[in-house]
């Protein structure tokens, strides 16, 4: 049974529509990540689920109940904010117990629940401090603790790690994954960092311009994106996109000619939905291009523009004939700038997109 269902949800600010026709099912216990570029409406959607933002149209159900007009406090959701939003005048324990205090819970129960949450997050020693005396990571943990104390049906996180430094972010990421495993609750998490999304998500929701682009498991989105936006957004370095024209359709393979050059490329594709002469965009991930010193059939010469050496991998940026920029990710090899090398595209990994950016699937 779905624990959270969103059907045809809209959001308008005056005449501006910031969320269009959002449909999404979240199962109980799932870790769902909303990811997308800044301003795409992730926070707005999350805040609509929380009840902090009105819903202009459509329905949100939690455990079968429509919660569109339910007071945020009664929805059974808890939210962790990017800025932590801890009450500076209360101690850590008071922060975590505030919700119980408001609902007039007995003191014993408050202490018990706060202690329990503190144990989970290793906050026991900090209970009497004020937020001003905590580090960023500790504050974040208190904010999560405050959510845990509420025992919500759904945890909502709005970019909770973006105020932390890189190292702490990775550590907290792991802790969050553990926490999810331990509590088994439904969690919805917003980020614009796709690495964070890939590592945490059971289900990833890629959004752009107020529209859900694709929903799926992280690796499914990586391997089998629905459109150019998802293909480009998921994975670093970004997928290479090459303008091309279909030159020939054979059984199981398609031949294409790159725009602005005579070079041709042959790759695996059923040919469905393609016709000779059609303009398409080909997508190939940097890690699916091999580099070699020797040319051969099905290779392109690459003039190297610059090289980023990251240690375990090397990122080579250059141009192929026709002027298209290509990024290649290689492991181990060292390359000098301004050298001519040859690239070989893995024919099984080439994706085809039509003029509208929609994926043209193989079969």
């Amino acid at each position: 049974m779905s624990s959270l269902e969103i059907t045809n949800a809209h959001k308008n600010y005056g005449a501006v529509e910031v969320l269009k026709d959002i449909c999404l099912d979240v199962s109980s216990g799932e870790f769902v990540v909303f990811v997308g570029p800044s301003g795409c409406g992730k926070s707005t959607l999350l805040r609509m689920i929380a009840g902090l933002e009105e819903i202009s149209g459509g329905e949100i159900r939690l455990d079968g109940q429509v919660i569109n007009d339910t007071d945020p406090a009664r929805r059974g959701v808890a939210m962790v904010f990017q800025s932590y939003a801890l009450y500076p005048h209360m101690t850590v324990a008071e922060n975590m117990g505030f919700t119980l205090k408001l609902s007039r819970a007995p003191k014993r129960e408050i202490t018990e629940k706060v202690d329990q949450a503190a144990r989970i997050l290793q906050l026991e020693k900090l209970l009497d401090r004020k937020p001003g005396q905590l580090s960023g990571g500790q504050k974040q943990r208190v904010a999560i603790g405050r959510a845990i104390v509420r025992e919500p049906k759904v945890f909502l996180f709005d970019e909770p790690l973006s105020n932390l430094d890189a190292e702490l972010r990775i550590q907290m990421r792991a802790e969050l994954a553990l926490l999810h495993k331990r509590l088994g609750s439904t969690m919805i998490y917003v980020t614009h960092d796709q690495v964070e999304a890939m590592t945490l998500a059971d289900k990833m929701v890629v959004m752009n311009g107020g529209v859900i682009q694709q929903v799926g498991r992280p690796l499914d989105l990586y391997d089998d994106p629905d459109n150019m936006f998802v293909a480009g957004f998921v994975g670093t370095p970004r997928m290479n996109f090459l303008e091309a024209e279909v030159a020939g359709l054979n059984a199981g393979t398609v031949e294409a000619r790159l725009s602005g050059s005579d070079s041709g490329l042959r790759f695996a594709h059923g040919g469905a939905g393609l016709s000779v002469g059609q303009k398409v965009t080909l997508g190939i991930r940097p890690e699916h291009i091999a580099l070699s010193d020797h040319g051969g059939s099905a290779t392109f010469p690459l003039s190297i523009g610059f090289v980023e050496e990251l240690g375990e991998s090397t990122c080579v940026h250059g141009e192929i004939p026709g002027g298209a920029r290509v990024t290649v990710l290689s492991h181990g090899a060292r390359f000098a700038d301004d050298r001519q090398v040859h690239t070989c595209f893995d024919p099984a990994k080439v994706l085809v997109f039509d003029q509208q950016g929609r994926r043209v699937r193989s079969g």
Partner: protein, 285 residues
Amino acid sequence: MSIALLPRMSRITPWSVAKWTLAICIAIVAAFPIWWMFNVVFADPGQPVSLNPRLYPTSFSSGISNIQRVLTETGYLRAYYVSVAYTILTIAGVLLVSSMAAFEFALFDFPGKRILFAVVMLSLMVPMAATLIPTYLLVARLGWLNTMQGLVLPGLASAFGLFMLTQFMKSIPREMLEAARLDGASHFQLYWHVALPLSRTALVTLAILTFMKTWGNFIWPLVVSQKPEMFTVSQVVSLFNSPLSHTTVDVVMTANLLAAVPPLIFFLIFQRRIVEGIASTGSKG
């Protein structure tokens, strides 16, 4: 520490001598009248003031007896009660009423917000002279002359207080309120548990400024409290000083000194707050 407090001797220049001389002279001018008031109270009785400019206190006991006399033989003590009540009620009322309104203006949207706020802010431009007589007439018609409510209520809707607190509360992060809403806080609880505690510094500053204004208010008690039972300290002090009162200067100065004590104590305690409060309203206004 003590070395750091002394001006460094190695740097005596004509400029620094002039600077220190000027600073000290002005300090004397600023402080002398108050010092002198004190000396007159604590002076040997019977010596004509003209022979002795009273540059220092000479008799502690006669000062105490002056104070005793003023407190017991005149209506001073009663006026003190009235003034204290007037001041405390005004402070409490101003803080409560303007913080509630500031909470709404600073943090929420509702129909008519801009126009309401603009009207209140425009009132800052209107001098008290414009409202004094009609407010008096209203209070008289309500039958509130010589009552505490007549003294207090007209002063509670402080546009200045509203402005100051609104500016301050605007800096409360929206997420903090949202977190509290999710924690189950009602609208009033947001105000009480989140906005008010977070505005403590501004509230303290406003309380102090309201204290100074109310304790020193002369004109409003003058028109509203006409019966001796409702006289405030300001009126009693002005009676002591009136040409018709045949009291000696030491008694008059005792009355003055007693009126000066609360603000002076406040100043000693809250010096930094007062100075910073005034400075910040100046640079924001």
